[in-house]
């Protein structure tokens, strides 16, 4: 699904955020990326849909080079990859429906989308996406009128409207309270299992990684230093391993508790 071959990222200010990453993520996985702040998790994620350019190496999506893709080819890759963010990044001054429909713009002629015209089939896709995250009743609300958890669900619906093969989530629950956190994670899990959408999420709470991920990747100082399948993993062992990834004991705010 996604493959990194010798990928490094050096930011213009000289920070080497990632160093020679080799990584392969298979279809259907639910991958949690764990690491300290500044380890390079967001950088890793943002290379997958070319929100940033790799300095060295190449990233592949379904065998196609993301790194070399331009114009139409890049749009074709991006529209198959949904992404949700810590800050939700939905358009607050627009209705929920228009937000979700905007997930369809790359599948339609620009001349129509800028007039706000979408085919009925796309509207059905949007309704289904909203229904999937149980927020269909808010379809005509202004996005800014929704709570944080609801806004993140709209963001998920927008990504779902892309009918994506891959879902990227950069700290999707970091601005949510514990209860909404579980809700949103449950939706991501449901989408991963029911629709077979490969999911890669940067997570701050190791408990969430334990509960939801099928595979956990640990990043430290720009390198992948930990990579395990969670099936049959012992919980105590896992937490010990993560202390290794963090290079210190886990803080209480990194563990949600039961």
């Amino acid at each position: 699904m996604i493959e990194f071959k010798g990928v490094s990222k050096v930011y213009p200010n000289g920070v080497r955020a990632l160093n020679n990453i080799n990584l392969k993520i298979e279809e259907g996985e639910f991958v949690a990326i764990i690491g300290l702040s500044g380890a390079g998790k967001s950088t890793l994620l943002r290379l997958m849909n070319k929100l940033i350019d790799a300095t060295e190496g190449e990233v592949f999506f379904q065998g196609e080079s993301v790194t070399k893709a331009r114009g139409r080819a890049l749009i074709n890759i991006r529209r198959q990859i949904g992404m949700i963010f810590q800050g939700f990044n939905i358009v607050k001054r627009m209705s929920v429906m228009n937000n979700v429909l905007s997930g369809r713009v790359a599948y339609n002629p620009t001349a129509l989308t800028i007039l706000g015209i979408f085919p009925e089939s796309d509207k059905q896709i949007a309704y289904r996406a909203l229904k999937k995250v149980d927020i269909l009743e808010k379809v005509h609300n202004r996005a800014s009128d929704l709570s944080g958890g609801q806004q993140q669900r709209v963001a998920i619906a927008r990504a779902l409207a892309q009918e994506p093969k891959l879902m990227l989530a950069d700290e999707p629950v970091a601005s949510l309270d514990p209860i909404t956190t579980v809700q949103v994670m449950d939706y991501l899990k449901k989408i991963n299992e029911e629709d077979g959408i490969t999911t890669i999420a940067n997570l701050h709470h190791v408990d969430l990684a334990w509960k939801y991920a099928t595979r956990v990747i640990g990043v430290r100082a720009g390198e992948v230093i930990y990579d395990v399948q969670m099936k049959g993993m012992d919980k105590k062992q896992f937490y010990e391993d993560l202390e290794g990834v963090y290079g210190r004991a886990l803080h209480s705010d990194e563990v949600l508790g039961e």
């Binding site: 890759i77 991006r78 800050g87 607050k92 989308t113 706000g116």
Partner: protein, 264 residues
């Protein structure tokens, strides 16, 4: 045992800077008065003349003249409306190009901004005299001047708003495969539209006032009537024009600014 409280000694603020500033300001005012041959005695000598003109202008008010004012006043407002619309419509795409977060290549927005900043510094009256020279006297020159003026005002304010948007929303649209036009439509416009409309309304308010004096350089509207009456020293009519314009401008300002408050 209670210790006696320590006396805190704070050095007195340095007054010299303040005094120097005051002296400089006085020197500048007096100096420029001398250079401009301003003579306070002249003012008093002409005061009685001024008072008598003022009296002729406003007392008794010449209401019978109002019907003659309405038509040029409407022309003034029409000029302001057309000028505002044309200027604001052109300003929008240019503002998008001038913002550094939509098109990131420097060679476009750096020179563009430079030009916009120049536009913004030219007063509407100067533009009007320029266009009167080009297109001749009449409302058309006034409308062109107001368009250019509005364009300068609205484009600058709008591109600054575009640069202040929440870029996360743009990034989300990029991530789902949106092209530039779709990003504009679905991430940028929803964020700046209220501000843009508000700037346009503000431009309209300024334009109504500007349009009222444009006639002075022959660019149509109520100013032309004003100038005509001044030439014939019809002070009563001039007074009525001033009262009438004042009321119209007030009403427009009130309505427009209350709409603006609701927009943003």
């Amino acid at each position: 045992m209670i210790m006696p409280e320590e006396r805190i000694i704070v050095p007195k603020p340095d007054r010299r800077k303040k005094i120097a500033t005051i002296i400089t300001v006085i020197v500048i005012i007096v100096g420029s008065g001398i250079i401009a041959h301003f003579n306070i005695i002249d003012v008093f000598r002409n005061l009685s003349k001024g008072v008598s003109i003022l009296k002729r202008m406003f007392w008794p008010p010449d209401f019978t003249y109002i019907p003659n004012i309405v038509k040029p006043m409407l022309e003034t407002i029409r000029m302001a409306i057309v000028g505002t619309c044309v200027g604001a419509i052109i300003a929008l795409p240019i503002a998008v190009l001038a913002a550094n977060n939509f098109i990131k290549t420097k060679w476009l927005h750096v020179p563009l901004r430079f030009i916009l900043n120049i536009f913004r510094t030219i007063p509407a009256l100067v533009l009007a005299s320029l266009f009167v020279a080009v297109f001749g006297t009449g409302a058309f020159s006034g409308v062109v001047a107001l368009s250019v003026f509005t364009f300068g005002l609205v484009s600058k304010l709008t591109y600054e708003s575009i640069e202040a948007i929440d870029y996360g929303q743009v990034e989300a649209l990029i991530s789902l495969g949106a092209n530039k036009l779709n990003i504009l439509r679905y991430a940028i416009m929803p964020q700046i539209l209220p501000q843009y409309l508000s700037y346009t309304l503000y431009g309209f308010e300024v334009n109504v006032r500007a349009a009222a004096v444009l006639g002075y350089v022959g660019a149509g509207g109520i100013g032309q009537l004003f100038e005509f009456n001044l030439a014939w020293r019809k002070f009563g009519k001039i007074g009525m024009i001033i009262i009438f314009s004042f009321c119209v401008v007030m009403i427009i300002d009130l309505v427009s600014s209350s709409i603006r408050k609701r927009l943003v």
